[in-house]
Amino acid sequence: MAVLVLGEVVNGALALDATAKTVTAAKSLGDVTVLVMGSGAKSAGATAATLDGVSKVLHADDASLDHALAENAAALIVGLQAATATSVPPATTDAKHLPARGRTSGCHGFVRSDGGG
């Protein structure tokens, strides 16, 4: 069963601590795929690939996904959810801003790493 973890990207770099903790929490649910978004997200994706337990990294490289604005990013996540059973975002402000929106549009299994919806 595939699990989608939202990689936290801050100014083009991966927020390693938040993402690594979320990956560790998500490992028990299945194969972990990490999604990183924003222009220049490739290097953040390369960092994510080095984390223990990550089986696949997706990077969406587009300026419309910068600054973690929920409106565009949520649409992207909804598109990806067909291929994954559960999404696990970290409990950061960006990740709280976004996935509840994605989940509502996609009506999908969803666990935030602090336990909220």
Binding site: A70, T92, K96, H97, A100, R101, T104, G117
Partner: protein, 253 residues
């Protein structure tokens, strides 16, 4: 411009929370209930927009048990114009989940057609931090969460958001959902004359069934428990003993 503010009746923030003996949740019997503090900030901001001439009407909505009337009266006493109570539960222990709340709010918004929804960022009882975002998704409106400053100009709103890395300022098109953080403003106290006046302000009563929304829970509470209490420390008699304990027990040196 009409502003809609959803408010939630929650356990008062000063109350010492007790877990029910069977672990099924928090004991709410004979406990003081109040308006969610973040929602109070949202109500205050809506009233300030009205006082600044930016908004004509402030409508407050609460979804929950019948007693949420008291919460709505508090908002009316602060200065809101009108209230809508959507009764969705009879038992105070039944929490209406964010998705159901968002669906009901969507239906209310279809009737009321506000240009701006100001909500608290999260309720202090279940800390979900989801309703505003879900509502924005259902409506396809823009969203600005964790607001610490809000300016409305014409058909857009400029919102400063408190994010992990600092502050982010964004401009959103109206209609929009704004969820407010702690530092946006300091809510006013309702004066006694205003509390009396609030009793005469209109309060519509509806039920979840009126809007055709199923509020049965999708989540199952497995258990509820109090956090572990901190264990007592030990007093060491000498530096040597401290170093010894750090080496052998704590394993830090």
């Amino acid at each position: 411009m009409k502003v809609l503010v959803p408010v939630k009746r929650v356990i008062d923030y000063n109350v010492k929370v007790r877990v029910k003996a069977d672990g099924s949740g928090v004991d709410l019997a004979n406990v003081k209930m109040s308006m969610n503090p973040f929602d109070e900030i949202a109500v205050e901001q809506a009233i300030r927009l009205k006082e600044a001439g930016k908004a004509e009407e402030v409508v407050v909505v609460s979804i929950g048990v019948k007693q949420a009337q008291d919460t709505l009266r508090t908002a009316l006493a602060m200065g809101a114009d009108r209230a809508i109570l959507v009764q969705a539960a009879d038992d105070v222990h039944q929490d209406i989940e964010p998705l159901a709340v968002a669906k009901i709010l969507k239906a209310v918004i279809a009737d009321e057609a506000p240009s701006l929804v100001i909500a608290g960022k999260q309720a202090i009882d279940n800390d979900m931090n989801a309703t505003g975002q879900m509502l924005a998704a259902l409506l396809g409106w823009s969203q600005a969460t964790f607001a610490s400053a809000l300016e409305v100009e014409g058909d857009s709103a400029t919102v400063t958001r408190e994010v992990d890395g600092g502050l982010q300022t964004i401009t959103v098109k109206l209609p929009a959902i704004v969820t407010v953080d702690l530092r946006l403003n300091e809510p006013r106290y309702a004066s006694l004359p205003n509390i009396m006046k609030a009793k005469k302000k209109p309060l519509d009563e509806k039920t979840a069934a009126d809007y055709g929304v199923d509020v049965s829970p999708r989540l199952e509470i497995v258990s509820t428990s109090e956090p572990e209490t901190r264990k007592a420390g030990v007093v060491v008699s000498s530096v040597d003993e401290l170093i010894e304990k750090l080496k052998s027990e704590a394993g830090v040196i």
